[in-house]
Structure formats: structure tokens, C-alpha cells
């Protein structure tokens, strides 16, 4: 098992009555709720936390892209990955990812990912999400019905730019470049591993499997949602004749570890409630723009996790509900170890993404949560699958002795 550490970078200071006074945490949230001095400290706090996760031996640090969003304050995850690249040595930089449909030309993403791979000595995972409806359609204005074809074109363009050795003409429907020439080449050959974070679109499963990429189920609804997506994904893998190598499948899980089960509730309950009541308080109108999902997916009944329809059934939920429904795996190290092991085996997950800074959780609790997890839970989790399956989808960095040391770097 690869154990990675995910940061959403939420605004920790939403007012107590936010979910009643405001329509949505995303798209139309009033900017007056933001404070730039606090924002300065908060970004640096989050960077400290990610660096701490590296020190604690996590396999990777995950960042992602959102816009006009108070629970995910990374319009450019590449900047965050660049910031931690120089102050970490071991952890992979898992950028999940860049919404490639929106960048014209998407060469910018090919270049920035190459830069991250170069700075980090080959530790990059390149994540290519189709992009969410609130981000891409509402906050960035892209037409829902054509987002997917823009996405496929951008993907083909980026891959070609990474692998072609001569300058070439790219003549796509949405991108036309006479001289495509990636002079800087990523460390990893032929290119960094590609992971696809998905929201449960039927066609993305097939596409991901056909390209032999990792599919990542990123949800805040834990096992319940993971099971639905996992079942659909692995069914397609069987139908397409792929092996069931768990390292093909990434899964995000909220995790809270304390000394005892009771202490976990004491430490983390209010931050979980903040997360589920405020951070994912998303206007229903923004969850799923018409045309964003294909007809097949609409029919399959897989809806996005946002929206009031989703928040309705979470309304009034408390710590016990979050734990019972496995939205969060929480408790003593033994409790977390047992439950997490069961879930990861049941869902056939090989790439765990642990979300341990949750909602309003302050730094000292994030550190505690991460340290207890890393020391008491992670060692046994990492053993899962290690003997049975090969991870063909994680970065292959330069050997440590060949890598630049920040502060002492010199090219020869």
C-alpha cells in the first residue's frame, strides 16, 4: 500500500452560522469572509503541515485544484507542489491535478509538470481531472457539453509534447500550435505517471483503464461512496480484461487518530462538523451543470457529491454518524488500523490518500493526527499488497545520491 497525505487547504475561519447565512461555500461565496493577513499565515501553516507529513514518512503529498472555493484554496496546486519540492526529499508530489481542459494551450501544464518533475528529481505524479462543474463551468466559464472533448484533446496534446523528440504541429479542434517544442524534458521517462481523479463518470473508468492510468475516487463520503465507485470501476476492469492490481485504484479517506476512541471524539468532532456543515455546503445549482455529465452517467444515477441534495442527508449528523458511516475512520490507533485495513482490502485500494487536516482543524491537532497515524497505523497499512502486487504507477525518482541538494546544488 502506498500511503499518501492529502491537503485540501480549507479556510478555517468561516463564521459559526455560515451554512445558514450563505448560499454556497463555492462559486458565489462572499470574498469579505476572507482575510489576507490570515491567508498569508494559513498558506504557510499548510505548507508546514505538508512538510511534516514528509518527515513522518508518508509516501506522497497530494494537492488539487479548485477555484472560488473556501474549502479548497488552491487555484494553482503547482505552486504548492513547487514550494514543498525544495523542502522535502522523499515524498512524491501528487498533483491531483490540473484541470487540463481549461488551459490553452495545455502545453502550460505539460511544461509546469515537467518543471516540478525536474525540481523534485522525478517525484511527480501528474493528475489530470476532467474538472468539477463548479470550478470549470461556473467559476471559469467553460461550456459543460464540450468540456470532455477539450479534456481528451488536452490529454493527447500533453502526452505528445512530453514524448515527441522533434518539434511538431498540433492541429486540434481547440488548440492549434505551429511549433510545439518541449525543450525541458521531465526526469521520468517516457513521462511522469498519470493519475485520474474522478467523480464517478462511467466513461472515465473505461478511459482510465484503457490508458493504464490510476483512477482516484476522491470523495468525502468515505466507504459508502468508495464502495459504489469501486464496484463500478473494478467491474469495468474485469470486463476490459485488466488485472485487479490494487495500485490502479486510489481512494481518499478522512482519518482521525488519537490516544483512545473517546479522545478522538474530543479532539476532532467539532472540526468534522465544521467540514460537513460548512466546507461542503455547496449550492445545488452549481453541483452539476447541464451537459457536464454524459447522458450515460446521468442515467446511471451517479450524482456528484456536492449539492443540497447531498448536504440534506448530512444535516444534523454528529460524530457518531460520521464514524458509523465511515465518512471518517477515527479512534485509537488500533481502531483505525483495523477499520482502515478492512476498508482498503474490501475496496481493493492500493493508493490511499489520507485526509488528516479536516475543516477547521488547527495545526497542533493536524500534527498530532499525522504523527500518531504515521507511527502507529501506517507501518501495518503499508504491508498490505506489498508481497502480492507490484506498484507500476508510482514515481521513479533519480537515486538519492544523484539528486540535487537544496543550498548546495550545482550542475555539471
Amino acid at each position: 500500500m502506498k500511503v499518501n497525505w492529502f491537503h485540501l487547504m480549507p479556510w478555517r475561519f468561516l463564521p459559526p452560522n455560515f451554512e445558514n447565512d450563505h448560499h454556497s461555500v463555492w462559486v458565489d461565496i462572499p470574498t469579505k469572509l476572507y482575510d489576507s493577513t490570515r491567508g498569508h499565515h494559513l498558506y504557510n501553516e499548510f505548507l508546514d503541515e505538508m512538510e511534516f507529513a514528509d518527515k513522518m514518512g508518508l509516501d506522497g503529498i497530494c494537492v488539487n485544484e479548485h477555484h472560488a472555493n473556501a474549502y479548497g484554496m488552491m487555484p494553482s496546486p503547482n505552486l504548492m507542489a513547487a514550494a514543498v519540492a525544495r523542502r522535502t526529499t522523499n515524498a512524491n508530489l501528487i498533483v491531483l491535478g490540473n484541470s487540463i481542459a481549461m488551459y490553452n494551450p495545455p502545453l502550460r501544464v505539460a511544461e509546469e509538470f515537467a518543471m516540478l518533475d525536474l525540481i523534485s528529481g522525478g517525484r511527480l505524479v501528474a493528475g489530470f481531472p476532467v474538472g468539477s462543474s463548479p470550478d470549470d463551468n461556473f467559476a471559469y466559464g467553460f461550456i459543460p457539453a464540450t468540456l470532455r472533448e477539450r479534456y481528451y484533446e488536452a490529454h493527447d496534446f500533453i502526452k505528445k509534447a512530453w514524448t515527441e523528440e522533434e518539434p511538431f504541429v498540433f492541429n486540434g479542434r481547440y488548440n492549434k500550435v505551429r511549433y510545439t517544442n518541449m525543450f525541458i524534458r521531465p526526469v521520468q521517462k517516457p513521462h511522469p505517471p498519470i493519475w485520474i481523479p474522478g467523480g464517478g463518470s462511467v466513461e472515465t473508468w473505461d478511459w482510465t483503464l484503457e490508458h493504464d492510468y490510476v483512477y482516484c475516487a476522491l470523495s468525502y463520503l468515505g466507504y459508502e461512496y468508495g464502495k459504489r465507485v469501486g464496484n463500478g470501476y473494478w467491474d469495468r476492469a474485469v470486463k476490459l480484461g485488466k488485472d485487479l492490481n490494487p495500485y490502479r485504484f486510489g481512494y481518499l479517506q478522512l482519518i482521525c487518530v488519537a490516544e483512545t476512541d473517546a479522545q478522538a471524539e474530543k479532539d476532532y468532532a467539532e472540526h468534522l462538523e465544521y467540514f460537513y456543515n460548512k466546507c461542503v455546503h455547496i449550492g445545488d445549482e452549481f453541483a452539476d451543470a447541464p451537459g457536464y455529465r454524459t447522458e450515460a452517467t446521468v442515467r446511471a444515477g451517479l450524482r456528484g457529491q456536492g449539492g443540497n441534495a447531498a448536504s440534506m442527508f448530512r444535516k444534523g449528523l454528529k460524530w457518531k454518524d460520521f464514524v458509523d458511516r465511515s465518512y471518517v475512520v477515527a479512534g485509537s490507533p488500533a481502531t483505525v488500523r483495523d477499520k482502515l485495513t478492512w476498508i482498503l482490502k474490501d475496496l481493493n485500494v492500493g493508493q490511499l490518500m489520507a485526509l488528516q487536516q479536516i475543516g477547521s482543524m488547527p495545526k497542533h491537532l493536524v500534527m498530532k493526527n499525522t504523527e500518531l497515524f504515521a507511527k502507529e497505523v501506517m507501518p501495518s497499512i503499508k504491508k498490505i499488497w506489498a508481497e502480492e502486487w507490484e506498484d507500476r504507477w508510482s514515481p521513479k525518482p533519480l537515486p538519492l545520491q544523484e539528486r540535487a541538494v537544496p543550498g548546495q546544488a550545482e550542475a555539471r
Binding site: 467553460f142 459543460p144 457539453a145 464540450t146 445545488d284 445549482e285 447541464p290 451537459g291 455529465r293 447522458e295
Partner: protein, 264 residues
């Protein structure tokens, strides 16, 4: 009751369903983003005087919307290709809302083939000082409030009603999503795809008809259209006690306005 006919365009890329009824000069009706559920009463009225052709646009019962991508020119060519295939050389174009934008685009592209133009609360412009409603991000209730002068009327209630049969309800939801997805190809995110720079090309005498209580595209847009249509004679007429769906809400006054203009 008129039946749907089918014709294919562009080697089968598009299969078009359309109604055709009546006799006399050609009148082509282009429906709104709500679709065309039947050969509606207003079309029945038009067909007493004209040969009415009313296609279902791609995504609204006709197929091939994926071939249009998000290209306004492709949408316009779809319209003219259809009229070519139906051997309609010249016609009165009547378009409502999304269909109004399309009719205006078609008339700007082939000004000589449009005898008269009727734009009923057309989409296609955006004025920052008086923005259109973001109807893509509206609950059905909010949409009904904006679309009707009287949201509590029977027609308004019928507009938002979801069938009680679960299978029919699913089809209704999928159908609505497909229709809005198609409209979104040309109206996302704010409806402005450059029509303001093409309206000058229209030559046909034009009636712009608007419901005074339109909460989706404000009635002030009628004057904006008129101001930009420097190549044609434009008459603006507002209908009292009507919102965006004016044929449903004030059928008599709306139909009379169109008939008076087209038959004159």
C-alpha cells in the same frame, strides 16, 4: 394533430424530427430551450395562414448535437441545411428565446432568404448593466418565478411539474438535462456569442416581441436588439401580463401580434 416527420442531413450525422402543417408561404418556427412538446396551439394558429415547419433542434428530440460542438456557425448551417433539404428557399423565421437567437444568426448569415423575422424574447445578447438570469443555475421553482408573470397560474405549474410515473420522471429529467446541455453549447455562460456584431447584417423586416414581466431576458433587451439591427426595419411590441413563455401565458395577444405582422 400533426405528426413528426424525419429527415437526415450531412450523410446521417443529423437526424431531424420536424412538424410540418398548413399551406401558404413558409413560416419556420425555432423553439426555445424548453423544447417543443407538440404542434402547439400557437403553431396551429400560424398554420391556418402559412406552411409551418417546426423542427426539433438537436438534443431536443433530433440527434447529432455532438457534431455542432460549440460552434455557432455549425448551428446556423444546420438550420440552413435543413431548409435546403426541405426545399424551402425563402421563409418567415420565428424564433423563441434560444430559437430566437438562432433565427437572428440565420438571418444575419443569409439575409436574402428571410422574408420576415420574428424574434420572441430572443437570447443572444448580454448587457452587463441589466444581466440576463443565469437560468442554467436555477431550481425549477426559481425558473418558474422568473419565466412567468403569474408563477401560480396553471400554465406555470404545468411548466415545472414532474411526471408521477418514475420512468417518465427519469426521462423528463434526462430530457431536460440534454436540452439544457445543448442550449449551453451556445448560451453558456451568459448567452453572448458575438451576435451583437452580426445583427447589422439582417435585412428582413423584424418584429421583436417581449413579455413585459420577463425575468429571464429583461424586456429592455428589445431596444438593444433594435439599436443593433441597423439594416432592417424593426418593430418592438411588448405583451402585458406575460413573462418569458409568452405563448403559453398570453396566447391570444402573442399569436395576434405575430399573425398581424406576418400577414401584413
Amino acid at each position: 394533430m400533426s405528426d413528426l416527420k424525419t429527415i437526415t442531413l450531412r450523410g446521417g450525422d443529423f437526424s431531424v424530427k420536424y412538424y410540418q402543417q398548413g399551406s401558404g408561404d413558409h413560416l419556420v418556427f425555432l423553439h426555445a430551450a424548453g423544447g417543443l412538446p407538440a404542434f402547439t396551439p400557437e403553431l396551429q394558429e400560424f398554420s391556418k395562414r402559412f406552411t409551418v415547419t417546426a423542427p426539433l433542434l438537436p438534443g431536443f428530440g433530433s440527434t447529432g448535437e455532438e457534431h455542432l460542438h460549440e460552434d455557432v456557425q455549425k448551428l446556423v448551417f444546420w438550420g440552413w441545411d435543413l431548409l435546403d433539404a426541405l426545399k424551402i428557399e425563402r421563409a418567415i423565421l420565428v424564433g423563441h428565446s434560444f430559437g430566437g437567437m438562432m433565427a437572428a444568426e440565420m438571418a444575419a448569415t443569409e439575409p436574402g432568404r428571410v422574408k420576415k423575422l420574428v424574434l420572441v424574447a430572443p437570447a443572444g445578447l448580454f448587457l452587463a448593466e441589466d444581466p440576463t438570469l443565469d437560468f442554467f443555475a436555477c431550481s425549477p421553482d426559481k425558473l418558474a418565478k422568473a419565466a412567468f408573470h403569474d408563477p401560480n397560474s396553471e400554465v406555470a405549474k404545468a411548466f415545472v411539474a414532474v411526471p408521477s410515473d418514475p420512468e417518465a420522471a427519469t426521462e423528463a429529467i434526462v430530457g431536460r438535462a440534454k436540452a439544457l446541455a445543448m442550449a449551453g453549447r451556445f448560451l453558456w455562460p451568459n448567452g453572448d456569442r458575438g451576435l451583437n456584431e452580426r445583427l447589422y447584417r439582417i435585412k428582413a423586416p423584424t418584429l421583436i416581441l417581449w413579455g413585459e414581466s420577463d425575468g429571464i431576458v429583461p424586456p429592455s433587451y428589445a431596444e438593444a436588439f433594435k439599436r443593433l439591427m441597423v439594416g432592417s426595419t424593426v418593430r418592438v411590441q411588448k405583451i402585458a401580463a406575460a413573462g418569458h413563455v409568452l405563448f403559453a401565458e398570453q396566447p391570444q395577444a402573442s399569436v395576434k401580434a405575430v399573425m398581424d405582422f406576418c400577414a401584413s
